[in-house]
């Protein structure tokens, strides 16, 4: 109970900071919009490839963009933690009786809220440019899974921030990870049309789990057993990242 309330207070702190810089949401939307509109236009003819199962590339692409935007926005979550460490804000919190998990969870909640807002904007944009998603429930599953994936990447990013405590390290790590994970998923291309080795790698890529299951749910072509299994994988991945972040917290406290 206490931990939940504390998570709420911390989340509120970060949401308020975000609210005061609404341009920041706009900035984080530039990349998804470029992907959606430019990639969407550039690769429109992809649907003509024999075996491609969708008739509209934008419709196919948008769930991929939703998922990629989630990892790109959540992956930078650790940056503000580094700021807090440098400013002494984290140490101030650590001297109070606040539990340690809410300090991380509060940030993840804020990240999840951002991902949710972003996702609905992207889906809305896709619909405005002609995509059609038959199932609202399916879209909610897509957005929910993206928020989970975002939380996992946020936890990883925060853990890294606590260990490295340098922006440069975090930037390097994220640049190293995010794009490869994006392209090793079915975000832009139907999985069975990808090179074989990429398909194999994608099987183990949490980004791909989210893209495939979220897309199937949104497009209403879903096999719910498959989707359920990917949600379960994702939950495990989230747990793993949370454990990493908690460990990193302990290591941070030992070092001060």
């Amino acid at each position: 109970m206490t931990a939940l309330m504390q998570t709420g207070y911390i989340a509120l702190r970060h949401l308020r900071a975000l609210w005061r810089q609404p341009w920041w949401i706009a900035v984080t939307l530039v990349q998804p919009i470029v992907w959606l509109l430019l990639y969407g236009a550039l690769f429109r003819r992809v649907v003509d490839i024999p075996g491609f199962q969708s008739t509209s590339y934008i419709e196919f692409l948008a769930p991929g963009v939703v998922v990629n935007s989630a990892i790109f926005s959540a992956g930078w979550g650790g940056m503000s933690l580094i700021d807090d460490i440098r400013r002494g804000v984290l140490d101030r919190f650590l001297v109070t009786p606040v539990r340690r998990t809410p300090l991380i969870m509060g940030r993840l909640v804020q990240g999840a809220v951002v991902v949710t807002i972003q996702s609905f904007i992207i889906v809305g944009l896709a619909v405005a440019t002609g995509a059609h998603y038959p199932s609202l429930l399916g879209v909610l599953v897509l957005v929910g899974m993206s928020a989970m994936l975002g939380a996992a990447f946020g936890a990883f990013s925060n853990g890294l921030a606590l260990l490295a405590r340098r922006e440069e390290t975090l930037i390097a790590a994220m640049n190293f990870m995010l794009l490869p994970l994006t392209f090793l998923s079915a975000g832009f291309m139907q999985k069975n049309l990808m090179p074989l080795w990429m398909q194999r790698v994608a099987d183990y890529n949490p980004v791909n789990w989210t893209v495939e299951a979220g897309r199937q749910a949104a497009m209403g072509s879903g096999d719910w057993a498959f989707i359920g299994s990917r949600v379960a994988f994702l939950a495990l991945f989230l747990l793993l990242c949370l454990t990493f972040a908690t460990r990193a917290f302990r290591s941070y406290q030992r070092s001060i």
Binding site: T2, M5, Q6, Y9, R13, R16, A17, R20, D84, R87, G88, V89, D91, R92, F93, L94, V95, T96, P97, V98, Q253, R254, I256
Partner: protein
């Protein structure tokens, strides 16, 4: 009962930096205790351990009766901390900062709102309370730090260099605020500082810390009183390493505790006025040129010199050099 007890605290940071080397002291309830020392002496490390932020490698500490290691919860609820680095959230307003701090201590509702407003008013931040803290001056941010440290009505307050970097007027205001926390609110305060005058004005007792140990402890008056007489400081024209300075001064009656550091000559005299001519004559006879002479009542600077065996300034320079070398080594 002592409000703070530190017994033989040792803190070793990897790769073997001994930040604290058997540090002990006690603070009487309802008083200000000063920890005075140069850069790197171990003041902040002591505070981090006493506020449960960091764990001691060995040793034991009690704050408000709670063991900081075994009863972290009890200790945390009883203490407020204003760290050396300001902990203000710059994106939030002054009031939001105080409210969140209260919430983390389990406070809430209208009572917390009232408490926040009361503290903001008390620290002269009422008008700025609804502005983002990034628009605050350094002095305002420091006062906000203190307001946050007090929100849950702690028994013991830790202030780590509360006035470093503030201009003199702001410092004087801060001093009277800090003094009031003890006289009006009955808090116990552990204060660290580089400034001799600050410790002198505020602290009832103080400990001089050097290289992780307490080298002297007592009341400011007591510590100064232990140094007999006035402080004489002569700046020589050049550094003499052959010992002739010491020899020249050895014979003068009423002059003692002669210490030479480079071109700086420190000595104590029962009466400064009579000793100065004698000192200058003796130096002249030994062929030592003096550039300037000052005589002063004993200050805590002199106390530091006496107990740490080197001047406060040169200890600071040493710390800076060490930091520089460590930086270069990387």
């Amino acid at each position: 009962m002592a409000a703070i007890e530190a017994h033989d605290l040792v803190k070793v940071y990897p790769p073997g930096i001994r930040a604290l080397d058997g540090l002990s002291f006690e603070v009487e309830q309802g008083t200000i205790f000063g920890l005075l020392g140069p850069n790197g002496a171990g003041k902040s490390t002591t505070i981090k351990i006493l506020t449960t932020l960091s764990k001691a490698t060995s040793g034991r500490a009690l704050v408000a009766g709670h063991d900081v290691d075994r009863d972290q919860g009890g200790a945390r609820a009883a203490i407020g901390c204003v760290a050396q680095k300001s902990g203000v959230d710059l994106e939030a307003t002054g009031r939001e900062n105080v409210i969140l701090q209260g919430q983390l201590y389990g406070m809430g509702g209208a009572e917390l709102g009232r408490r926040a407003d009361e503290l903001l008013t008390r620290f002269g931040l009422a008008d700025a309370a609804r502005r983002p803290a990034k628009t605050f001056s350094g002095g305002m941010q420091r006062r906000l730090d203190i307001a946050m440290g007090l929100v849950h009505r702690p028994e013991v307050l830790f202030l780590d260099e509360p006035t470093t970097g503030l201009d003199p007027e702001v410092r004087a205001d801060m001093w009277s605020e800090i003094a009031r926390l003890v006289s009006v609110d009955g808090l116990t305060i552990l204060l660290t500082t580089h400034y001799m005058d600050e410790a002198d004005v505020l602290a009832k007792r103080l400990a001089i810390v050097d290289r992780g140990r307490v080298v002297a402890e007592g009341t400011p008056e007591g510590l100064k009183g232990e140094l007999r007489g006035d402080a004489i400081h002569v700046e020589l024209r050049e550094a003499y390493l052959d010992g002739r300075v010491q020899v020249a001064l050895a014979g003068i009656a009423g002059v003692h505790d002669v210490q030479l550091e480079g071109r700086s000559l420190h000595a104590r005299a029962d009466s400064g006025a009579t000793a100065v001519p004698a000192v200058l004559t003796a130096l002249d006879a030994a062929g030592v040129g003096a550039a300037s002479v000052t005589v002063a009542r004993p200050s805590l600077d002199d106390v530091y010199l006496r107990y740490a065996g080197r001047a406060f300034r040169s200890a600071e320079d040493e710390a800076a050099n060490l930091a520089q070398r460590q930086g270069d080594g990387r």
